[in-house]
Amino acid sequence: MEKECRREIDHMDTILHYIRQYAETQPDVPAVCELRKKATYREYWDNIRRMASALRNTGVQKGDHVVLRCTQNIDYLTIFSALQYIQALVVPVEKSASPERISEIGSRVDARWLISDKEAEDMTLIKQKDLVEQAKKSDVLDLELPDSESRSMLLFTTGTTGASKGVVVLHRNDVGIAGNVIHGTSMKKGNVEIIPMPLNHSFGIRRYQSDMVNGGTVCLMDGMVFIGTLWKLVEKYGATSMAISPASLGMIFHLSGDRIADYADRFDYIQIGSAPLAENDKERLLRLLPHTRLYNFYGSSEAGCACILEFSGNGNKPGCIGRPTVNSVVRFTDDDGNVIENGSPENPALLSWGGSIVMEGYYNDPELTSEILVDGFVRTRDLAYLDEDGDCILVGRADDVINYGGSKISPAEIEDLALGYKHIDDVAYSSVADPITGELPVILIVQKDGYDESEFEQFLADRLESYKLPRKYIYVENIPKTFKGSVLRKEVRKLAEQYA
Protein backbone atom coordinates (compact mmCIF):
# COMPACT_ATOMS: atom_id res chain seq x y z
CA MET A 1 0.00 0.00 0.00
CA GLU A 2 1.14 3.55 -0.58
CA LYS A 3 1.26 4.58 3.05
CA GLU A 4 1.66 2.79 6.31
CA CYS A 5 -1.17 0.35 6.79
CA ARG A 6 -2.18 -1.53 9.90
CA ARG A 7 -1.87 -4.76 7.96
CA GLU A 8 0.90 -5.27 5.49
CA ILE A 9 -0.47 -5.99 2.05
CA ASP A 10 1.96 -5.83 -0.86
CA HIS A 11 1.24 -3.06 -3.31
CA MET A 12 0.12 -4.27 -6.74
CA ASP A 13 -0.97 -2.48 -9.86
CA THR A 14 -4.54 -3.71 -10.27
CA ILE A 15 -7.30 -5.65 -8.52
CA LEU A 16 -6.65 -8.47 -11.02
CA HIS A 17 -3.09 -8.80 -9.69
CA TYR A 18 -4.48 -9.53 -6.23
CA ILE A 19 -7.01 -12.08 -7.49
CA ARG A 20 -4.23 -13.84 -9.41
CA GLN A 21 -2.00 -13.84 -6.35
CA TYR A 22 -4.68 -15.25 -4.06
CA ALA A 23 -5.50 -17.92 -6.66
CA GLU A 24 -1.97 -19.19 -5.91
CA THR A 25 -1.58 -18.48 -2.21
CA GLN A 26 -5.11 -19.26 -0.98
CA PRO A 27 -6.78 -21.11 -3.85
CA ASP A 28 -9.58 -22.72 -1.85
CA VAL A 29 -10.77 -19.61 -0.02
CA PRO A 30 -14.15 -18.45 -1.36
CA ALA A 31 -13.74 -15.22 -3.34
CA VAL A 32 -17.28 -14.47 -4.51
CA CYS A 33 -20.51 -16.09 -3.31
CA GLU A 34 -24.22 -16.07 -3.88
CA LEU A 35 -26.80 -17.95 -1.86
CA ARG A 36 -26.63 -21.02 -4.08
CA LYS A 37 -23.17 -20.93 -5.56
CA LYS A 38 -19.65 -19.72 -4.94
CA ALA A 39 -16.24 -19.54 -6.57
CA THR A 40 -12.93 -19.99 -4.76
CA TYR A 41 -10.04 -17.74 -5.74
CA ARG A 42 -8.63 -20.44 -7.97
CA GLU A 43 -12.02 -21.02 -9.63
CA TYR A 44 -12.70 -17.29 -9.94
CA TRP A 45 -9.33 -16.64 -11.57
CA ASP A 46 -9.84 -19.53 -14.01
CA ASN A 47 -13.39 -18.36 -14.79
CA ILE A 48 -12.19 -14.81 -15.48
CA ARG A 49 -9.61 -16.14 -17.93
CA ARG A 50 -12.12 -18.46 -19.63
CA MET A 51 -14.54 -15.56 -19.90
CA ALA A 52 -11.76 -13.49 -21.45
CA SER A 53 -11.33 -16.20 -24.04
CA ALA A 54 -15.06 -16.24 -24.76
CA LEU A 55 -15.10 -12.45 -25.12
CA ARG A 56 -12.17 -12.53 -27.53
CA ASN A 57 -13.83 -15.28 -29.57
CA THR A 58 -16.96 -13.16 -29.77
CA GLY A 59 -14.89 -10.34 -31.20
CA VAL A 60 -14.27 -8.05 -28.21
CA GLN A 61 -10.75 -6.65 -28.42
CA LYS A 62 -8.38 -4.56 -26.32
CA GLY A 63 -9.47 -0.94 -26.39
CA ASP A 64 -13.14 -1.69 -27.20
CA HIS A 65 -15.72 0.11 -25.08
CA VAL A 66 -18.27 -2.33 -23.68
CA VAL A 67 -21.50 -1.43 -21.89
CA LEU A 68 -22.24 -4.12 -19.30
CA ARG A 69 -25.64 -4.35 -17.65
CA CYS A 70 -25.31 -5.17 -13.97
CA THR A 71 -26.95 -8.43 -12.94
CA GLN A 72 -25.60 -8.27 -9.40
CA ASN A 73 -24.17 -11.81 -9.41
CA ILE A 74 -20.95 -13.79 -9.85
CA ASP A 75 -21.40 -13.95 -13.62
CA TYR A 76 -21.48 -10.16 -13.77
CA LEU A 77 -18.27 -9.80 -11.75
CA THR A 78 -16.60 -12.45 -13.88
CA ILE A 79 -17.48 -10.66 -17.11
CA PHE A 80 -16.51 -7.31 -15.56
CA SER A 81 -13.10 -8.65 -14.53
CA ALA A 82 -12.58 -10.44 -17.85
CA LEU A 83 -13.21 -7.20 -19.74
CA GLN A 84 -10.54 -5.52 -17.62
CA TYR A 85 -8.24 -8.49 -18.20
CA ILE A 86 -8.41 -8.12 -21.99
CA GLN A 87 -8.10 -4.34 -21.49
CA ALA A 88 -11.43 -3.43 -22.95
CA LEU A 89 -13.05 -0.46 -21.19
CA VAL A 90 -16.01 -1.67 -19.13
CA VAL A 91 -18.94 0.71 -18.72
CA PRO A 92 -21.32 -0.74 -16.14
CA VAL A 93 -24.98 0.32 -16.19
CA GLU A 94 -27.76 -0.30 -13.68
CA LYS A 95 -29.88 -3.41 -13.85
CA SER A 96 -33.10 -1.48 -14.50
CA ALA A 97 -31.64 0.82 -17.16
CA SER A 98 -34.07 1.32 -20.03
CA PRO A 99 -32.99 0.56 -23.61
CA GLU A 100 -33.09 4.32 -24.25
CA ARG A 101 -30.78 5.03 -21.31
CA ILE A 102 -28.40 2.27 -22.40
CA SER A 103 -28.37 3.66 -25.94
CA GLU A 104 -27.66 7.13 -24.62
CA ILE A 105 -24.73 5.89 -22.53
CA GLY A 106 -23.47 3.73 -25.36
CA SER A 107 -23.51 6.71 -27.68
CA ARG A 108 -21.73 8.97 -25.19
CA VAL A 109 -18.92 6.50 -24.60
CA ASP A 110 -18.58 5.29 -28.20
CA ALA A 111 -19.41 1.77 -27.11
CA ARG A 112 -19.20 -0.95 -29.68
CA TRP A 113 -20.64 -3.73 -27.58
CA LEU A 114 -23.47 -4.25 -25.15
CA ILE A 115 -23.57 -7.23 -22.79
CA SER A 116 -27.16 -7.53 -21.67
CA ASP A 117 -30.33 -9.46 -22.43
CA LYS A 118 -31.97 -6.90 -24.72
CA GLU A 119 -30.74 -4.91 -27.67
CA ALA A 120 -30.02 -1.22 -27.75
CA GLU A 121 -29.28 1.02 -30.69
CA ASP A 122 -25.88 1.21 -32.33
CA MET A 123 -24.21 -1.50 -30.28
CA THR A 124 -23.70 -5.17 -31.00
CA LEU A 125 -25.54 -7.21 -28.41
CA ILE A 126 -23.84 -10.09 -26.63
CA LYS A 127 -26.36 -11.97 -24.52
CA GLN A 128 -24.98 -12.52 -21.07
CA LYS A 129 -26.40 -16.04 -20.74
CA ASP A 130 -24.84 -17.09 -24.04
CA LEU A 131 -21.50 -15.62 -23.00
CA VAL A 132 -21.54 -17.50 -19.71
CA GLU A 133 -22.27 -20.78 -21.49
CA GLN A 134 -19.53 -20.13 -24.02
CA ALA A 135 -17.03 -19.35 -21.26
CA LYS A 136 -17.66 -22.74 -19.64
CA LYS A 137 -16.45 -24.42 -22.82
CA SER A 138 -13.50 -22.08 -23.39
CA ASP A 139 -9.86 -22.56 -22.55
CA VAL A 140 -8.09 -20.34 -20.08
CA LEU A 141 -6.50 -17.31 -21.76
CA ASP A 142 -3.15 -16.16 -20.39
CA LEU A 143 -2.42 -12.48 -20.88
CA GLU A 144 -0.15 -9.86 -19.38
CA LEU A 145 -2.05 -7.89 -16.78
CA PRO A 146 -2.77 -4.19 -17.31
CA ASP A 147 -0.68 -1.60 -15.47
CA SER A 148 -1.72 0.84 -12.79
CA GLU A 149 -1.98 3.84 -15.11
CA SER A 150 -4.28 2.20 -17.62
CA ARG A 151 -8.04 2.59 -17.58
CA SER A 152 -10.06 0.30 -15.33
CA MET A 153 -13.68 1.31 -15.93
CA LEU A 154 -16.00 4.17 -16.78
CA LEU A 155 -18.55 4.93 -14.05
CA PHE A 156 -21.58 7.14 -14.57
CA THR A 157 -22.54 9.48 -11.77
CA THR A 158 -25.90 10.97 -10.95
CA GLY A 159 -25.32 14.48 -12.24
CA THR A 160 -26.79 17.36 -10.27
CA THR A 161 -26.72 19.60 -13.32
CA GLY A 162 -29.11 17.40 -15.26
CA ALA A 163 -26.70 15.14 -17.08
CA SER A 164 -24.82 12.27 -15.48
CA LYS A 165 -21.08 12.28 -16.02
CA GLY A 166 -18.80 9.51 -17.23
CA VAL A 167 -15.89 9.18 -14.80
CA VAL A 168 -12.79 7.49 -16.23
CA VAL A 169 -11.25 5.41 -13.46
CA LEU A 170 -7.69 4.11 -13.53
CA HIS A 171 -6.47 0.86 -12.00
CA ARG A 172 -4.38 2.79 -9.49
CA ASN A 173 -7.55 4.50 -8.30
CA ASP A 174 -9.09 1.09 -7.60
CA VAL A 175 -6.10 -0.05 -5.56
CA GLY A 176 -5.78 3.26 -3.70
CA ILE A 177 -9.46 3.30 -2.79
CA ALA A 178 -9.36 -0.35 -1.74
CA GLY A 179 -6.51 0.58 0.59
CA ASN A 180 -8.63 3.37 2.04
CA VAL A 181 -11.43 0.92 2.83
CA ILE A 182 -9.12 -1.78 4.23
CA HIS A 183 -7.18 0.64 6.40
CA GLY A 184 -10.22 2.69 7.38
CA THR A 185 -12.25 -0.29 8.59
CA SER A 186 -9.28 -2.13 10.12
CA MET A 187 -10.36 -4.99 7.87
CA LYS A 188 -9.14 -8.31 9.17
CA LYS A 189 -7.70 -11.19 7.20
CA GLY A 190 -10.45 -13.60 6.30
CA ASN A 191 -13.12 -10.90 6.27
CA VAL A 192 -16.45 -12.04 4.77
CA GLU A 193 -18.52 -9.12 3.54
CA ILE A 194 -22.13 -9.01 2.40
CA ILE A 195 -22.68 -6.51 -0.42
CA PRO A 196 -26.26 -5.81 -1.55
CA MET A 197 -25.28 -2.49 -3.14
CA PRO A 198 -25.40 -2.21 -6.96
CA LEU A 199 -22.09 -3.27 -8.47
CA ASN A 200 -22.37 -0.73 -11.29
CA HIS A 201 -21.92 2.16 -8.88
CA SER A 202 -18.92 3.36 -6.98
CA PHE A 203 -20.04 2.26 -3.50
CA GLY A 204 -20.73 -1.38 -4.39
CA ILE A 205 -17.83 -2.01 -6.74
CA ARG A 206 -15.33 -0.35 -4.35
CA ARG A 207 -16.35 -2.69 -1.53
CA TYR A 208 -15.94 -5.73 -3.75
CA GLN A 209 -12.51 -4.46 -4.82
CA SER A 210 -11.36 -3.88 -1.26
CA ASP A 211 -12.32 -7.43 -0.34
CA MET A 212 -10.36 -8.76 -3.31
CA VAL A 213 -7.26 -6.79 -2.29
CA ASN A 214 -7.69 -8.09 1.25
CA GLY A 215 -8.10 -11.69 0.04
CA GLY A 216 -11.47 -11.95 1.74
CA THR A 217 -14.87 -13.18 0.63
CA VAL A 218 -17.72 -11.25 -0.96
CA CYS A 219 -21.34 -12.41 -0.56
CA LEU A 220 -23.65 -10.86 -3.11
CA MET A 221 -27.27 -9.84 -2.67
CA ASP A 222 -29.47 -7.99 -5.12
CA GLY A 223 -30.61 -5.16 -2.89
CA MET A 224 -31.90 -5.72 0.62
CA VAL A 225 -35.59 -6.31 -0.02
CA PHE A 226 -35.09 -10.10 0.08
CA ILE A 227 -34.13 -9.91 3.72
CA GLY A 228 -34.38 -13.70 4.12
CA THR A 229 -31.37 -13.99 1.83
CA LEU A 230 -29.38 -11.80 4.21
CA TRP A 231 -29.86 -14.11 7.17
CA LYS A 232 -29.13 -17.20 5.06
CA LEU A 233 -25.90 -15.64 3.75
CA VAL A 234 -24.81 -14.70 7.26
CA GLU A 235 -25.31 -18.27 8.44
CA LYS A 236 -23.96 -20.05 5.39
CA TYR A 237 -20.73 -18.09 4.89
CA GLY A 238 -20.09 -16.77 8.37
CA ALA A 239 -20.33 -13.13 7.34
CA THR A 240 -18.28 -10.74 9.46
CA SER A 241 -19.19 -7.44 7.80
CA MET A 242 -21.62 -5.65 5.52
CA ALA A 243 -21.56 -2.69 3.14
CA ILE A 244 -25.03 -1.19 2.98
CA SER A 245 -26.91 2.04 2.38
CA PRO A 246 -29.18 3.82 4.87
CA ALA A 247 -32.11 2.61 2.73
CA SER A 248 -30.89 -0.99 3.14
CA LEU A 249 -30.67 -0.52 6.88
CA GLY A 250 -34.18 0.91 6.88
CA MET A 251 -35.30 -2.19 4.99
CA ILE A 252 -33.63 -4.47 7.56
CA PHE A 253 -35.45 -2.70 10.38
CA HIS A 254 -38.76 -2.50 8.54
CA LEU A 255 -38.83 -6.15 7.45
CA SER A 256 -37.17 -7.88 10.39
CA GLY A 257 -37.32 -5.53 13.36
CA ASP A 258 -34.34 -5.92 15.70
CA ARG A 259 -33.26 -9.30 14.38
CA ILE A 260 -29.82 -7.99 13.47
CA ALA A 261 -29.09 -8.01 17.22
CA ASP A 262 -29.00 -11.85 17.02
CA TYR A 263 -25.69 -11.40 15.19
CA ALA A 264 -24.23 -8.82 17.54
CA ASP A 265 -21.16 -10.98 18.21
CA ARG A 266 -20.64 -11.85 14.58
CA PHE A 267 -20.29 -8.52 12.77
CA ASP A 268 -16.80 -7.03 13.04
CA TYR A 269 -17.91 -3.90 11.17
CA ILE A 270 -20.67 -2.45 9.03
CA GLN A 271 -19.97 0.32 6.59
CA ILE A 272 -22.84 2.55 5.56
CA GLY A 273 -22.64 4.85 2.58
CA SER A 274 -24.21 6.50 -0.47
CA ALA A 275 -26.39 8.81 1.68
CA PRO A 276 -26.55 10.27 5.19
CA LEU A 277 -27.87 8.00 7.94
CA ALA A 278 -30.96 9.15 9.86
CA GLU A 279 -30.19 9.85 13.51
CA ASN A 280 -32.78 7.43 14.91
CA ASP A 281 -31.55 4.57 12.69
CA LYS A 282 -27.99 5.30 13.76
CA GLU A 283 -28.92 5.18 17.45
CA ARG A 284 -30.91 1.99 16.96
CA LEU A 285 -27.99 0.29 15.23
CA LEU A 286 -25.55 1.41 17.92
CA ARG A 287 -27.85 -0.03 20.58
CA LEU A 288 -28.37 -3.37 18.77
CA LEU A 289 -24.73 -3.92 17.83
CA PRO A 290 -22.71 -2.49 20.72
CA HIS A 291 -19.47 -4.30 19.77
CA THR A 292 -19.57 -3.72 16.02
CA ARG A 293 -17.57 -0.90 14.48
CA LEU A 294 -19.83 1.27 12.35
CA TYR A 295 -18.38 3.37 9.56
CA ASN A 296 -19.53 5.99 7.14
CA PHE A 297 -17.40 6.91 4.13
CA TYR A 298 -17.50 10.23 2.35
CA GLY A 299 -16.42 10.25 -1.26
CA SER A 300 -17.51 10.31 -4.86
CA SER A 301 -17.00 8.43 -8.11
CA GLU A 302 -14.40 11.08 -8.93
CA ALA A 303 -12.42 10.54 -5.69
CA GLY A 304 -13.58 7.46 -3.84
CA CYS A 305 -13.68 6.91 -0.06
CA ALA A 306 -11.85 10.14 0.69
CA CYS A 307 -12.89 10.48 4.30
CA ILE A 308 -14.01 8.00 6.96
CA LEU A 309 -16.01 8.33 10.13
CA GLU A 310 -16.27 5.64 12.76
CA PHE A 311 -19.59 6.72 14.18
CA SER A 312 -19.67 3.93 16.72
CA GLY A 313 -16.66 5.58 18.36
CA ASN A 314 -15.92 8.96 19.62
CA GLY A 315 -18.70 11.38 20.15
CA ASN A 316 -21.20 12.81 17.79
CA LYS A 317 -20.00 16.08 16.31
CA PRO A 318 -22.68 17.58 14.07
CA GLY A 319 -21.63 17.53 10.41
CA CYS A 320 -18.56 15.42 11.07
CA ILE A 321 -17.53 13.24 8.11
CA GLY A 322 -14.45 11.88 9.87
CA ARG A 323 -10.80 11.91 8.88
CA PRO A 324 -9.11 11.83 5.48
CA THR A 325 -8.26 8.24 4.54
CA VAL A 326 -4.77 6.82 4.12
CA ASN A 327 -4.53 7.34 0.35
CA SER A 328 -6.37 10.64 0.09
CA VAL A 329 -5.15 14.21 0.51
CA VAL A 330 -7.50 16.97 1.63
CA ARG A 331 -7.18 20.52 0.41
CA PHE A 332 -9.24 23.65 1.01
CA THR A 333 -9.83 26.50 -1.39
CA ASP A 334 -11.72 29.77 -1.32
CA ASP A 335 -14.45 30.69 -3.81
CA ASP A 336 -11.83 31.82 -6.32
CA GLY A 337 -9.98 28.51 -6.17
CA ASN A 338 -7.04 29.81 -4.15
CA VAL A 339 -5.59 27.17 -1.86
CA ILE A 340 -5.94 28.06 1.81
CA GLU A 341 -4.75 26.22 4.87
CA ASN A 342 -8.14 25.42 6.37
CA GLY A 343 -11.69 26.67 6.67
CA SER A 344 -13.32 27.57 9.98
CA PRO A 345 -16.79 27.30 11.50
CA GLU A 346 -17.43 30.93 10.57
CA ASN A 347 -15.79 30.69 7.14
CA PRO A 348 -15.90 27.13 5.89
CA ALA A 349 -13.88 26.51 2.75
CA LEU A 350 -14.49 24.43 -0.34
CA LEU A 351 -13.23 20.85 -0.10
CA SER A 352 -10.93 19.27 -2.69
CA TRP A 353 -9.46 15.77 -2.71
CA GLY A 354 -6.15 14.48 -4.06
CA GLY A 355 -4.04 11.33 -3.92
CA SER A 356 -4.10 8.06 -5.84
CA ILE A 357 -7.90 7.96 -5.55
CA VAL A 358 -8.41 10.75 -8.09
CA MET A 359 -10.00 9.88 -11.44
CA GLU A 360 -8.34 10.38 -14.81
CA GLY A 361 -11.15 12.77 -15.80
CA TYR A 362 -14.61 12.88 -17.38
CA TYR A 363 -14.94 10.94 -20.62
CA ASN A 364 -14.88 13.15 -23.67
CA ASP A 365 -15.39 16.30 -21.62
CA PRO A 366 -12.11 18.14 -21.24
CA GLU A 367 -13.88 21.37 -20.30
CA LEU A 368 -15.71 19.87 -17.34
CA THR A 369 -12.60 17.91 -16.40
CA SER A 370 -10.48 21.05 -16.24
CA GLU A 371 -13.18 22.75 -14.17
CA ILE A 372 -13.37 19.95 -11.59
CA LEU A 373 -9.84 18.51 -11.67
CA VAL A 374 -7.32 21.18 -10.73
CA ASP A 375 -3.65 20.34 -10.03
CA GLY A 376 -4.58 16.71 -9.44
CA PHE A 377 -7.32 17.61 -6.95
CA VAL A 378 -11.05 16.98 -7.43
CA ARG A 379 -12.99 20.08 -6.44
CA THR A 380 -16.30 19.65 -4.65
CA ARG A 381 -19.02 22.12 -3.78
CA ASP A 382 -19.01 20.99 -0.17
CA LEU A 383 -18.10 23.55 2.48
CA ALA A 384 -16.06 22.27 5.43
CA TYR A 385 -13.14 22.72 7.79
CA LEU A 386 -10.80 20.55 9.89
CA ASP A 387 -11.35 20.94 13.60
CA GLU A 388 -8.71 20.80 16.34
CA ASP A 389 -8.96 16.97 16.42
CA GLY A 390 -8.28 16.67 12.70
CA ASP A 391 -11.88 15.73 11.96
CA CYS A 392 -13.50 17.15 8.86
CA ILE A 393 -16.71 19.04 9.63
CA LEU A 394 -19.13 19.49 6.71
CA VAL A 395 -21.05 22.73 7.00
CA GLY A 396 -23.01 22.91 3.74
CA ARG A 397 -23.89 20.17 1.29
CA ALA A 398 -23.97 21.06 -2.35
CA ASP A 399 -25.55 17.84 -3.36
CA ASP A 400 -29.30 18.07 -3.74
CA VAL A 401 -29.80 14.56 -5.06
CA ILE A 402 -32.87 12.71 -3.81
CA ASN A 403 -32.37 9.19 -2.52
CA TYR A 404 -35.57 7.18 -3.12
CA GLY A 405 -35.07 3.76 -1.57
CA GLY A 406 -31.45 3.73 -2.71
CA SER A 407 -32.18 5.06 -6.19
CA LYS A 408 -30.62 8.47 -6.70
CA ILE A 409 -32.56 11.09 -8.61
CA SER A 410 -31.35 14.47 -9.76
CA PRO A 411 -34.08 17.10 -9.32
CA ALA A 412 -32.58 19.26 -12.05
CA GLU A 413 -32.90 16.45 -14.60
CA ILE A 414 -36.61 15.96 -13.85
CA GLU A 415 -37.32 19.71 -13.77
CA ASP A 416 -35.63 20.30 -17.14
CA LEU A 417 -37.72 17.54 -18.66
CA ALA A 418 -40.99 18.56 -16.97
CA LEU A 419 -40.70 22.10 -18.29
CA GLY A 420 -41.15 20.61 -21.74
CA TYR A 421 -44.86 20.18 -20.91
CA LYS A 422 -46.50 23.32 -22.28
CA HIS A 423 -49.18 23.79 -19.61
CA ILE A 424 -46.92 24.41 -16.64
CA ASP A 425 -45.25 27.68 -15.78
CA ASP A 426 -42.68 26.40 -13.35
CA VAL A 427 -41.80 23.25 -11.48
CA ALA A 428 -39.63 21.91 -8.68
CA TYR A 429 -38.88 18.27 -7.92
CA SER A 430 -38.34 17.49 -4.29
CA SER A 431 -39.08 14.89 -1.65
CA VAL A 432 -40.83 14.27 1.62
CA ALA A 433 -39.73 11.94 4.37
CA ASP A 434 -40.89 8.32 4.10
CA PRO A 435 -40.44 5.65 6.78
CA ILE A 436 -39.63 2.88 4.30
CA THR A 437 -37.80 4.46 1.42
CA GLY A 438 -36.21 7.38 3.26
CA GLU A 439 -37.46 9.95 0.81
CA LEU A 440 -40.55 9.97 -1.41
CA PRO A 441 -40.27 12.00 -4.63
CA VAL A 442 -42.86 14.73 -5.14
CA ILE A 443 -43.30 17.48 -7.69
CA LEU A 444 -44.41 21.06 -7.11
CA ILE A 445 -46.19 22.62 -10.07
CA VAL A 446 -47.19 26.12 -11.06
CA GLN A 447 -50.00 25.47 -13.53
CA LYS A 448 -50.98 27.30 -16.67
CA ASP A 449 -54.35 27.30 -18.46
CA GLY A 450 -55.01 23.97 -20.08
CA TYR A 451 -53.11 21.96 -17.50
CA ASP A 452 -54.36 18.40 -17.04
CA GLU A 453 -52.84 16.20 -14.34
CA SER A 454 -53.41 12.91 -16.18
CA GLU A 455 -51.88 14.32 -19.32
CA PHE A 456 -48.85 15.62 -17.40
CA GLU A 457 -48.48 12.25 -15.62
CA GLN A 458 -48.43 10.52 -18.98
CA PHE A 459 -45.96 13.10 -20.33
CA LEU A 460 -43.56 12.18 -17.52
CA ALA A 461 -44.25 8.43 -17.74
CA ASP A 462 -43.36 8.48 -21.43
CA ARG A 463 -39.98 10.03 -20.70
CA LEU A 464 -38.78 8.81 -17.31
CA GLU A 465 -37.86 5.54 -15.63
CA SER A 466 -40.68 4.54 -13.28
CA TYR A 467 -38.68 5.12 -10.08
CA LYS A 468 -38.21 8.77 -11.04
CA LEU A 469 -41.94 9.44 -11.37
CA PRO A 470 -43.21 11.72 -8.59
CA ARG A 471 -45.50 10.02 -6.08
CA LYS A 472 -47.41 13.21 -5.24
CA TYR A 473 -48.35 16.30 -7.26
CA ILE A 474 -48.47 19.54 -5.28
CA TYR A 475 -49.86 22.75 -6.74
CA VAL A 476 -48.32 26.06 -5.70
CA GLU A 477 -48.42 29.70 -6.73
CA ASN A 478 -44.69 29.95 -7.25
CA ILE A 479 -41.42 28.07 -6.72
CA PRO A 480 -39.00 29.60 -4.17
CA LYS A 481 -35.88 30.73 -6.04
CA THR A 482 -32.80 32.92 -5.58
CA PHE A 483 -32.56 36.24 -7.45
CA LYS A 484 -30.40 34.38 -9.98
CA GLY A 485 -33.17 31.86 -10.55
CA SER A 486 -31.74 28.85 -8.74
CA VAL A 487 -34.29 26.74 -6.90
CA LEU A 488 -34.08 27.14 -3.13
CA ARG A 489 -34.11 23.45 -2.32
CA LYS A 490 -34.63 23.74 1.41
CA GLU A 491 -37.59 26.10 0.97
CA VAL A 492 -39.08 23.83 -1.67
CA ARG A 493 -38.70 20.88 0.65
CA LYS A 494 -40.51 22.77 3.42
CA LEU A 495 -43.36 23.53 1.04
CA ALA A 496 -43.52 19.89 0.00
CA GLU A 497 -43.68 18.71 3.61
CA GLN A 498 -46.39 21.25 4.34
CA TYR A 499 -48.68 20.33 1.48
CA ALA A 500 -47.97 16.63 0.89
Partner: protein, 73 residues
Protein backbone atom coordinates in the same frame (compact mmCIF):
# COMPACT_ATOMS: atom_id res chain seq x y z
CA UNK B 1 -56.24 -16.81 -6.55
CA UNK B 2 -58.06 -14.57 -9.01
CA UNK B 3 -58.49 -11.86 -6.39
CA UNK B 4 -54.83 -12.29 -5.41
CA UNK B 5 -53.69 -11.75 -8.98
CA UNK B 6 -55.91 -8.68 -9.28
CA UNK B 7 -54.19 -7.26 -6.23
CA UNK B 8 -50.79 -7.89 -7.85
CA UNK B 9 -51.90 -6.25 -11.11
CA UNK B 10 -52.94 -3.10 -9.28
CA UNK B 11 -49.44 -2.82 -7.86
CA UNK B 12 -47.69 -3.67 -11.13
CA UNK B 13 -49.91 -3.33 -14.21
CA UNK B 14 -49.15 -5.00 -17.54
CA UNK B 15 -47.50 -8.08 -16.07
CA UNK B 16 -48.72 -11.58 -16.96
CA UNK B 17 -48.96 -12.80 -13.36
CA UNK B 18 -50.99 -15.80 -14.49
CA UNK B 19 -48.04 -17.24 -16.41
CA UNK B 20 -44.78 -15.55 -15.39
CA UNK B 21 -42.48 -17.79 -13.35
CA UNK B 22 -39.40 -15.58 -13.11
CA UNK B 23 -40.84 -12.34 -11.78
CA UNK B 24 -37.72 -11.68 -9.70
CA UNK B 25 -35.08 -13.49 -11.75
CA UNK B 26 -36.10 -11.63 -14.90
CA UNK B 27 -36.25 -8.29 -13.12
CA UNK B 28 -39.99 -7.85 -13.72
CA UNK B 29 -40.60 -7.06 -10.05
CA UNK B 30 -38.28 -4.50 -8.55
CA UNK B 31 -37.47 -3.80 -4.91
CA UNK B 32 -40.13 -1.15 -4.47
CA UNK B 33 -42.73 -3.49 -6.03
CA UNK B 34 -41.83 -6.17 -3.48
CA UNK B 35 -42.24 -3.70 -0.61
CA UNK B 36 -45.66 -2.68 -1.97
CA UNK B 37 -46.74 -6.33 -2.31
CA UNK B 38 -45.65 -7.18 1.23
CA UNK B 39 -47.57 -4.15 2.58
CA UNK B 40 -50.66 -4.93 0.54
CA UNK B 41 -50.70 -8.58 1.67
CA UNK B 42 -50.49 -7.42 5.28
CA UNK B 43 -53.31 -4.91 4.77
CA UNK B 44 -55.61 -7.09 2.70
CA UNK B 45 -55.06 -10.55 4.22
CA UNK B 46 -53.70 -9.69 7.65
CA UNK B 47 -50.63 -11.81 6.88
CA UNK B 48 -47.20 -10.56 7.90
CA UNK B 49 -44.58 -12.41 5.89
CA UNK B 50 -41.71 -13.40 8.23
CA UNK B 51 -38.33 -12.09 7.14
CA UNK B 52 -36.95 -15.59 6.54
CA UNK B 53 -39.59 -16.10 3.87
CA UNK B 54 -38.80 -12.89 2.03
CA UNK B 55 -36.59 -14.63 -0.49
CA UNK B 56 -36.65 -14.55 -4.31
CA UNK B 57 -38.13 -18.07 -4.66
CA UNK B 58 -41.32 -17.02 -2.88
CA UNK B 59 -41.83 -14.03 -5.18
CA UNK B 60 -40.84 -15.51 -8.52
CA UNK B 61 -44.41 -16.45 -9.37
CA UNK B 62 -47.89 -15.48 -8.25
CA UNK B 63 -48.55 -19.13 -7.44
CA UNK B 64 -45.55 -19.40 -5.13
CA UNK B 65 -46.52 -16.22 -3.33
CA UNK B 66 -50.17 -17.21 -3.06
CA UNK B 67 -49.20 -20.58 -1.56
CA UNK B 68 -46.96 -18.86 0.98
CA UNK B 69 -49.75 -16.51 2.03
CA UNK B 70 -52.21 -19.38 2.33
CA UNK B 71 -49.72 -21.31 4.51
CA UNK B 72 -49.28 -18.31 6.75
CA UNK B 73 -52.98 -17.58 7.24
Amino acid sequence: MKEFIEMLKKIKPNVDFENEEALVDDGILESLDIISIISEIADKYGVVIPSDEIIPDNFNSAVALYELVEDLK
